[in-house]
């Protein structure tokens, strides 16, 4: 056993070689996208499949290799390579650097691993679509962008990936762009995301200002000269917004949190308020990408895209990038308890709202979409509770079971003539055995039934939200409790867990149990082929196996002289959150409970919640009891069915007024002033002048010579007059 551990903790290649080759992981799918996009039509279906799947498979193998390398303690559990300055403007510098640590390493495996399965699945799922080459080009491009996002070692490069995945998501949602509704869904996703990107960008700019004010320079006295000098060095060495520099910036912050910023455009603002604003803006960015209040509305509509896309982009990878971002920047999060409260509340509220909407939806993918929003909300609750590892564990387990659910839904649609209304399915258990079994496993996992992975990750989040205490610095420097938001969020989270169990089991019972619906499009569903079934089986197996990462009490480490229990994932991510934990213990704003033994009661409680939720669904939809109860709740169902009218609210409050202003501006400013006077007027004037000048161009050599002579004479006269 020890020798096996030894084997996997020894880097198979020199770490610097692996670091230098990190770009290959991104380059492979990028090349795949290029080949399938440009030559896909010529190459034919099978060759395009080979290229696209091969590219992701190659990336997956490389990711495995990188993962192996960063398990070597000699690497410090992280490798990175700086490819030099990317661009530079004054003292602002951005390097092109990639790095992999345990956080991005795990993401690498999820992206390429789940991505590979979904690529394989798509070869069959898209087998009748004429646009297959376009599809695989986009899908490969997405993988490349997502890998850029997680491998980036600076905010600007991360933003490149961030925008790249947004663009691919837009392209894939509107993949069937000849259907106006689907094209509209794509635009909606893109524009909503752009609102979030605005937050991300402004946050980055503010970070530059805050960090610069922390560095000692001429005319800038800083309190902590050593930390400032270290930060200044990192900013020059790695780039202004490199994560290494941000980390050093966070280290310089605790001593000055209550001070005012001494220089720069933010002069006079307190550091803690600046940090709070930055985190809120980042939350806006993350809310766009990860579909949180107030920007979650795009994700359910995003289901217009092909189902593999929903599984890969809108469940497993892209939508978790907000959580990834906050894990990356966790050293800032623990310095701002107020922001943590807000994050936890936003997350929990989103989770509950989405779960309630999912109650009444009848579309298979719609329910799954809202359940994704809801689960993402839980992850944000984890971030807000300071349990970054738990949030990230949920990212990983969720990637497995949600991808499995989506692909299962795709398989159902594939076998039922694209029918996705669960009330028009039913009885699939007997007709699609493999799909049924895997779907059931994944449903149980998301519901939170012991011993599936979802149970442990969800419970870790809720447990952390329950036990962690948040404080803020009071007037005299003493700590004041500030965890009202987190407490409320915890209860919302528990309620969400109950609702999740209900709506997931409802969907399962309606679609898979009972008799086949009379409205079904086809009398008998057919089971899908192996390229669809095998990814399902693998993902279902992973949904179970991933629980190992969340099993409590597996690891024992000594922390501050006390023997504490950790889960595998928490232990595994310790090196990533080294600075975060150090800062947390330094400022003591976040005080998690120290686990010296494995608490049993919360597990029982969570399990009971899941069972109750499931049981209600069982009686209502399997046993068909309580019909009168359902009838009396009809108004509530209608409210939920109409998604609490949030879309309508946005239309009335934001979109309509904006459109009106835009129309008015178009009619007056654009059409009359700019187009009419400025553009046409100038164009008319310049063309007229040009046409007039043309008359000088007679084609007569003598007149040319004459004009030249006159010009020379004039110049000479001017010169001679000047000297005379």
């Amino acid at each position: 056993m020890n020798s096996l551990v030894q084997f996997f903790q020894t880097s198979p290649v020199p770490p610097s070689n692996a670091a230098h080759a990190l770009w290959l992981i991104i380059a492979l799918p990028l090349l795949g996208a290029f080949v399938s996009g440009v030559f896909g039509k010529v190459l034919g279906r099978a060759n395009t499949h080979l290229v696209a799947v091969g590219a992701v498979a190659g990336s997956f193998l490389l990711s495995l290799l990188v993962f192996w390398v960063i398990n070597d303690p000699l690497t410090g559990y992280a490798i990175g390579w700086d490819y030099g300055t990317w661009f530079k403007a004054g003292s602002f510098q951005v390097n092109f650097g990639l790095s992999a640590d345990h956080l991005s390493g795990s993401m690498l495996l999820v992206i390429t691993g789940v991505g590979l399965l979904i690529h394989v699945y798509s070869t069959e799922y898209m087998s009748h679509d004429a646009g297959y080459w376009r599809f695989f080009a986009y899908l490969n491009l997405f993988v490349a962008a997502m890998l850029t996002l997680v491998l980036a070692d600076s905010m600007p490069l991360l933003f490149v990936g961030w925008e790249g995945v947004g663009m691919c998501s837009y392209l894939l949602i509107g993949f069937w762009y000849d259907d106006p509704a689907k094209a509209y869904a794509g635009r909606k996703a893109f524009i909503t995301n752009r609102i979030g990107d605005f937050g991300f960008l402004v946050a980055s700019f503010l970070l530059v200002l805050v960090l610069t004010s922390l560095t000692p320079s001429k005319g800038n006295q800083v309190k902590d000269v050593d930390a400032g000098a270290a930060l200044s060095f990192k900013m020059q060495q790695k780039g202004t917004l490199a994560f290494a520099a941000l980390e050093d910036g966070a280290k310089a912050l605790p001593k000055v949190l209550a001070d005012e910023i001494p220089s720069g455009p933010l002069k006079g603002m307190k550091y803690e308020s600046a940090l709070f604003v930055i985190l809120l803006l980042l939350l806006l960015g993350a809310a766009g990408k990860s579909a949180q209040i107030p920007l979650y509305v795009w994700l359910p509509d995003a289901m217009a895209g092909p189902t593999p896309v929903s599984a890969l982009i809108h469940a497993a990878t892209m939508v978790t990038s907000g959580i990834y971002l906050f894990c990356r920047l966790s050293y800032f999060v623990v310095l701002s308890p107020m922001a943590m409260n807000v994050i936890a509340l936003i997350g929990a509220t989103t989770a509950l709202l989405a779960a309630l909407i999912a109650f009444s939806q009848t579309g298979l993918k719609k329910v799954l979409a809202y359940s994704t929003v809801s689960q993402l909300g839980l992850m944000f609750l984890g971030i807000g509770a300071g349990a970054f590892w738990a949030a990230f564990l949920h990212v990983v387990t969720h990637a497995f079971f949600k991808a499995c659910l989506f692909l299962g839904a795709g398989s159902v649609m594939h076998g039922n003539a694209e029918e996705e209304d669960i009330t028009k399915l039913g009885g699939l258990r007997r007709e699609m055995k493999a799909t049924w079994a895997t779907f059931l496993v994944a449903t149980l996992a998301i519901t939170g039934i012991v011993p599936l992975s979802g149970f442990f990750s969800k419970d870790a989040i809720l447990h952390a939200a329950h036990t962690t205490k948040l404080f803020r610095a009071g007037a005299d420097g003493a700590l004041v409790a500030a965890d009202g938001g987190l407490h409320l969020a915890y209860w919302l989270g528990v309620l969400t867990a109950l609702c999740t169990a209900f709506y997931m089991m409802r969907m399962y019972f309606v679609a898979f149990e009972g008799e086949r619906s009379a409205d079904a499009k086809v009398a008998h569903a057919h089971e899908s082929g192996p390229a669809i079934v095998w990814p399902l089986i693998i993902l279902a197996a992973l949904s179970v196996l991933a629980m190992v990462h969340g099993l409590p009490g597996l690891m024992h480490v000594e922390r501050n002289g006390v023997q504490v229990h950790q889960t595998l994932m928490e232990n595994f991510l310790d090196p990533v959150f080294r600075t975060t934990y150090a800062l947390r213990d330094q400022v003591k704003f976040v005080q998690p409970e120290i686990e010296t033994s494995v608490p049993v009661a919360p597990f029982v409680q969570a399990w009971v919640i899941a069972l109750v939720g499931g049981a209600v669904a069982f009686f209502l939809y399997f046993k068909k009891q309580g019909g009168s109860l359902l009838d009396s709740l009809e108004p509530l169902r209608k409210l939920s069915w109409n998604k609490f009218y949030v879309d309508e609210l946005y239309t009335a409050v934001i979109i309509k007024p904006l459109t009106f202003v835009a129309r008015a501006a178009h009619r007056v400013i654009d059409a009359v002033i700019i187009d009419g006077l400025a553009v046409r007027g100038t164009a008319w004037l310049t063309t007229r002048t040009g046409a007039a000048l043309r008359y000088l161009q007679s084609g007569d050599a003598q007149s040319y010579a004459a004009i030249m002579s006159v010009a020379v004479a004039a110049a000479l006269v001017w010169i001679l007059l000047r000297i005379a």
Partner: protein, 511 residues
């Protein structure tokens, strides 16, 4: 022996030309496919030799009659690249017309040798002779195709006006010789201040006449009027060579000559002359190009406009360090607190601009040559925009390449034209020529209109029904692909090339 280093490129070109001429006499076979290969290889060898020379330290050679400096070596290198590309374009063009002959390539190579020698000449007589070497070669190339009246008219016009301007140049040089008694530029630089004090009229008139002679060669307004007629009448590959090579070589010589004279004159005189030339050239070039529907003529006017942008860079070299008031848009407002502009930046900017312009313009004229049909030679609508309609459907590769060239000419990133404009304009702004730079940018905005019109026709207009398949030959494809790739590559990764070109700051005598 070291003295002969700078002559290697020119010697290579001349040897190649002689070989081609003799082969036309002695190898009278119908197959002349080897000629373009010989010509291209010769140019490439010369380009490599010139590139090699660019890393030699700057020094005076051949008893002061010539110099070896990175500025001229890079210029020679670019001229040779332009020659190679034009040769490739010409091969396809001539083959289509059954007019491929050794003397054509020989003349092209002789012209290139003249350009190379002009770039390194450091003495007035040498400058004049080399200018004539390249001019005579281009005069005859202009009239090379003897079908119809157009080439003959163009050639003759070019010859008459060229002779006129050469005489102005020669007369100016003679006056300067009269004032100082020397013709070598470095001696002139030393002798001129005294002469300017004693015989100002002679010096100033000489200065003005030399400037007029060069203004003709670079096609600056109002010495530009031959350009559209000659460019239109000459065989299109020759037009490409003229706009790429002749202009570049003339610019190098112009900078060399006037830097030598700079010290003797009150600073605002050369500055105001160059600034005024730049301004009218930029504005008039763009305005005149705008109403053109004839793409070849439009490109001719566009080459005038580009000469204006380059003159803007030259004006930056002569910007007086202190602010000069009451000059309106030509006023100098130094941003850098009155420090002199780094001349190296201007040289680098000019060279990069010329390099970008060389590959772009050869490519653009190449595209024009590619879709030009032999039957159309005598018609008036040979190069009408209509001919480009729907090219994207008929010849997508050519259309994409042409779009790249048009965007580069308009100065849109990510193309070489954008980076070149960026370098030149930023050097001008650093020198304080803000008004002039703004005028230049506005003029280039107006330019976008007629460049994009070609793109619009290619991509958004349906193909005319009578469009026939064009004549295709591998040489044309090689030339277009090479220039298109170069245009985009220089725009995306200007770093390495800009790094090399910054050696041009070591221009002989003017570090």
């Amino acid at each position: 022996m070291n003295d002969f280093l700078p002559l290697i490129p020119a010697a290579t070109l001349v040897v190649g030309a002689i070989v081609l001429m003799l082969s036309e006499v002695f190898l009278a076979s119908a197959n002349r496919g080897y000629m373009v290969i010989v010509a291209t290889l010769t140019s490439v060898v010369a380009a490599v030799a010139a590139f090699w020379n660019a890393f030699e330290p700057a020094r005076s050679v051949l008893q002061g009659y010539a110099v070896l400096d990175p500025f001229s070596s890079f210029m020679t290198c670019m001229v040779c690249v332009g020659t190679a590309l034009s040769g490739l374009v010409a091969s396809s063009f001539l083959k289509h017309r059954n007019a491929e002959r050794g003397e054509f390539y020989a003349l092209v190579l002789f012209a290139a040798a003249g350009m190379s020698l002009l770039a390194l000449s450091n003495e007035f007589i040498t400058i004049f002779i080399n200018l004539e070497v390249l001019s005579v070669a281009t005069y005859s190339l202009t009239a090379y195709l003897r079908r119809g009246g157009r080439p003959a008219e163009a050639g003759f016009k070019y010859f008459i006006l060229g002779a006129f301007s050469a005489s102005l140049l020669l007369y100016g040089a003679a006056l300067l010789y009269g004032a100082t008694g020397v013709t070598k530029l470095d001696e002139l630089e030393r002798a001129l201040p005294l002469a300017a004090a004693t015989q100002p009229a002679l010096v100033y008139v000489g200065f003005g006449l030399v400037l007029a002679g060069f203004a003709f060669k670079v096609a600056a307004v109002p010495f530009h009027m031959w350009t559209p007629d000659v460019y239109e009448g000459a065989p299109t590959p020759v037009t490409a060579l003229m706009s790429a090579g002749v202009k570049s070589a003339a610019f190098v010589s112009l900078v060399r000559v006037f830097l030598a004279m700079k010290g003797a004159l009150p600073p605002e005189v050369p500055y105001l002359l160059f600034a005024a030339l730049a301004l009218v050239t930029m504005v008039a070039g763009n305005l005149l190009a705008m109403p053109q529907r004839n793409v070849k003529r439009m490109l001719a006017y566009s080459s005038i406009a580009h000469a204006g942008y380059l003159l803007l860079g030259v004006a930056a070299l002569f910007a007086p360090a202190g602010a000069s008031a009451k000059a309106g848009v030509l006023a100098v407002t130094p941003l850098l607190g009155g420090t002199a502009v780094a001349a190296g930046d201007v040289y680098k900017g000019l060279l990069f601009y010329l390099l970008g312009y060389t590959v772009t313009t050869v490519g653009a004229f190449g595209c024009v040559a590619a879709i030009e049909r032999r039957e159309d030679e005598t018609r008036t609508n040979t190069w009408d925009l209509e001919r480009f309609a729907g090219l994207a459907q008929r010849q997508p590769g050519w259309a994409v390449a042409m779009a790249a060239f048009m965007l580069s000419l308009a100065g849109v990133p990510p193309t070489a034209g954008f980076i070149g404009k960026l370098f030149v304009f930023s050097a001008a702004v650093d020198a304080g020529l803000i008004g002039l730079a703004v005028a230049g940018v506005l003029a280039s905005v107006a330019g976008t209109y007629y460049y994009l019109r070609v793109v619009v026709y290619m991509f958004m207009r349906p193909s005319p029904d009578e469009a026939t398949a064009p004549f295709r030959h591998w040489t044309m494809d090689v030339a277009l692909v090479t220039s298109a790739v170069a245009v985009v590559a220089l725009g995306l990764l200007p770093g390495p090339v800009a790094q090399w070109l910054s050696r041009a700051g070591m221009m002989f005598g003017h570090f």
